[in-house]
């Protein structure tokens, strides 16, 4: 089934229209995105795929509000993001987006609990609530007994779970996972994918960025990028029960 703008999901979270991004590198101008239009609804499980140089990372940076497009329109939950300044974008990232990185990006000298608390500190939440919610998020990913451990006392899979707990703790609109299994062995990778599947089943919106078809298969919708444009956009799996019940 090919892409259509209307889907039987919740409301539109991400609405991108004809965005481009180019970088000037010395004499040369690199066109990373050449006009991408994409809509992502609440409770979708989407994978963005493509070879290196396809504009995949650039698109991810746009979606994650880490960067702004050179042209085009980007609305996040109805708010125009493309013209926001650095601090406004930081606010969006803090409240709306949960990042999961390939390299986990945990603070090495802080406990799991403190790592998960971090987004809540930037959100201005008081210490008691912070600790309560961080502990809950850690329990949710099965690390209730690892709260005081530092990253170097945890396995790779556990570290990524901490990162996922950190992504979830502020109840974001989307979870943006960039090669979440890239630094893990395949067995641990499967565990992490199962966790993401679980989050999706619970009603979360998950966006995967990967170049591995095996990983992308877990998603329900695959968007292929090539040379800065969308090459294909197709549904691949069944809808989650939660989403079906909602409608």
């Amino acid at each position: 089934m090919h892409s259509g703008n209307l889907r039987p999901y919740g409301p539109i979270v991400i609405d991108i229209e004809d965005i481009t991004k180019h970088y000037v590198m010395g004499e040369e101008t690199v066109h990373a995105l050449r006009g991408v239009t994409l809509q992502i609804h609440r409770n979708e499980y989407l994978a963005i795929m493509g070879p290196s140089g396809s504009g995949k990372s650039t698109l991810m940076n746009m979606l994650g509000c880490l960067d702004t497009p050179s042209s085009g329109r980007y609305e996040f939950n109805g708010r125009d993001v493309s013209s926001m300044d650095g601090d406004e974008l930081a606010e969006i990232r803090n409240k709306e987006i949960g990042f999961v990185f390939q390299t986990f990006n945990l603070l090495p000298r802080s406990s799991s609990l403190r790592n998960v608390e971090l987004p809540l500190i930037y959100a201005g939440i008081d210490p008691e609530t912070r600790e309560e919610r961080a502990a809950q998020a850690l329990s949710d990913v099965g690390l209730g007994d690892r709260m005081q451990h530092k990253p170097n006392e945890l396995s790779g899979g556990q570290r990524q779970r901490v990162a996922i707990a950190r992504a979830l703790v502020n109840h974001p609109s989307i979870i943006l996972a960039d090669e979440p299994t890239g630094n893990l062995d395949s067995k641990t990778g499967e565990e992490i994918m199962a966790l993401l599947e679980n989050l999706y089943q619970q009603g979360n919106t998950v966006i995967l960025v990967t170049h591995e078809p095996d990983i992308a298969r877990h998603a329900r919708r695959n968007v292929h990028l090539r040379d800065g444009v969308i090459e294909s956009d197709e549904m691949t799996g069944s809808l989650p029960e939660a989403a079906l019940q909602e409608n």
Binding site: N61, D67, G86, R93, N94, Y122, G124
Partner: protein
């Protein structure tokens, strides 16, 4: 506001963790600040010590006493204008006292003459030379506080009868009568026999200025009998209200013109001096010592600050990826700026505290070893040092913290 507070405490936690995990580096960097703060603080104690010693010396002059003398105290570039003035006679004091008594609501209380001469003082084989011998009247205690280690001041009768009695300054007594009381013993002042009736309490000296410890006081008539050659005199006048010292000065000028019988068109041929005149001459000297001293020691603190700046730049570079992560999680520019500012400030503050402890120990040691050395450790010094440390941290951390806060999150996240 609440968020700012949370970010602030978070930043302090990070700063402390950073210092703990980079112990050697933090210690070496803080060492620069420690040395700087020790230098600046010691200089500060020395300056405030000098200032106190100076004020103490000045207080011997009295801030409510006017000195009628031939020359101005303040430095002048035209000494030849004063050289030919008539000298001040001790008899003026009596005339002035009569005039003061006749003036209703006078701003002046009493005039006391003093004459000075330099002589050596001897007792058996002990001799001290270059001693100021001062002749004055029994009114002297009225204008200047005289504290006695033992004995008393001479009385009116001894004064009038030109009795050969004397008061020794503490140091003079100590040099001539080591270990024994000089009271009722005889000394030779410029070859003349005098009986010791009092010893001044120790006042301490500073820069050799005006210490009463090394003078000898005798009754004026006795002084005139034996030492009038080459003596210099002045008349000291106590003022009723030191807040009205200018009016008192005008009044005294008028009285002195009458005493000197100056025609109205003639200029004053005397000077009325006060403590303030000395201050205004010596204050610039004191201030330039302070400025030069603080500038030089400030340089060492500056070097320390450069060290802090350098290490903060290194820290920003090392933790670029962390900055990226924090930004991705919602840290705003201000948050990152604050974090690194607090890191550099924490380092400086730690250095400042250690430096202050060292400085305190050194002051204590110097104070014990050389009690006369003017050094003073005060609370305000502690507060100032802490403020200087904080300021150093903020200034030296600003450039690196600013660059960290401006990092592009995408670039920072990609940094390896």
């Amino acid at each position: 506001m609440k968020r700012f507070l949370y970010e602030l405490t978070e930043s302090w936690k990070i700063a402390l963790t950073q210092m703990q995990s980079n112990k050697t580096r933090s210690m070496l960097t803080a060492l620069g600040v420690i040395i700087g703060i020790v230098a600046v603080t010691l200089m500060g104690t020395a300056i405030s010590g000098i200032s106190t010693g100076f004020d103490k010396s000045m207080s011997i002059l009295g801030d409510d006493v006017l000195y009628v003398s031939q020359f101005p105290w303040a430095r002048t570039n035209d000494w030849w204008n004063y050289r030919d003035r008539r000298e001040i006679k001790t008899e003026y004091a009596e005339t002035l006292n009569r005039l003061i008594a006749a003036t209703p609501n006078s701003n002046l209380i009493v005039a006391v003459p003093t004459s000075n001469v330099v002589r050596s003082v001897k007792r058996e084989e002990n001799q001290v030379s270059g001693i100021f011998v001062q002749g004055t009247t029994a009114d002297y205690p009225l204008i200047s506080t005289v504290d006695f280690a033992e004995g008393r001041f001479f009385n009116e009768l001894e004064n009038k009868s030109a009795a050969s009695v004397c008061l020794l300054g503490y140091d003079v007594a100590d040099a001539l009568f080591p270990g024994t009381s000089p009271l009722e013993k005889e000394v030779l002042i410029g070859g003349q026999r005098f009986k010791v009736i009092g010893v001044g309490a120790r006042q301490g000296s500073f820069l050799g200025l005006f210490s009463l410890d090394s003078i000898v006081i005798v009754p004026l008539p006795a002084f005139q009998k034996y030492f009038s050659a080459k003596s210099e005199s002045d008349v000291r006048v106590k003022v009723r209200d030191k807040l009205k010292i200018e009016e008192a000065k005008d009044e005294l000028t008028g009285l002195m013109r009458r005493v000197r019988a100056l025609a109205p068109e003639k200029k004053n041929d005397f000077n009325i001096n006060e403590q303030q005149a000395f201050k205004s001459t010596l204050d610039p000297v004191k201030n330039s010592i302070a400025i030069a001293g603080l500038f030089i020691t400030g340089l060492s603190l500056f070097v320390g600050a450069i060290g802090i700046m350098n290490i903060t730049f290194v820290s920003v570079k090392e933790r670029t990826k962390e900055i990226g992560t924090r930004k991705a999680l919602g840290a705003r520019r201000r948050t990152i700026l604050l974090q690194f500012l607090i890191e550099s400030t924490a380092l400086c503050l730690a250095g400042g505290l250690v430096g202050l402890m060292f400085a305190y120990a050194m002051c204590f040691g110097i104070g014990k070893a050389v009690p006369s050395f003017p050094i003073q450790f005060s609370l305000s010094l502690v507060v100032i040092s802490m403020l200087v440390s904080i300021l150093t941290g903020l200034i030296s951390g600003f450039a690196p913290a600013w660059s960290a806060s401006r990092l592009d999150p995408v670039t920072a996240l990609r940094y390896e």
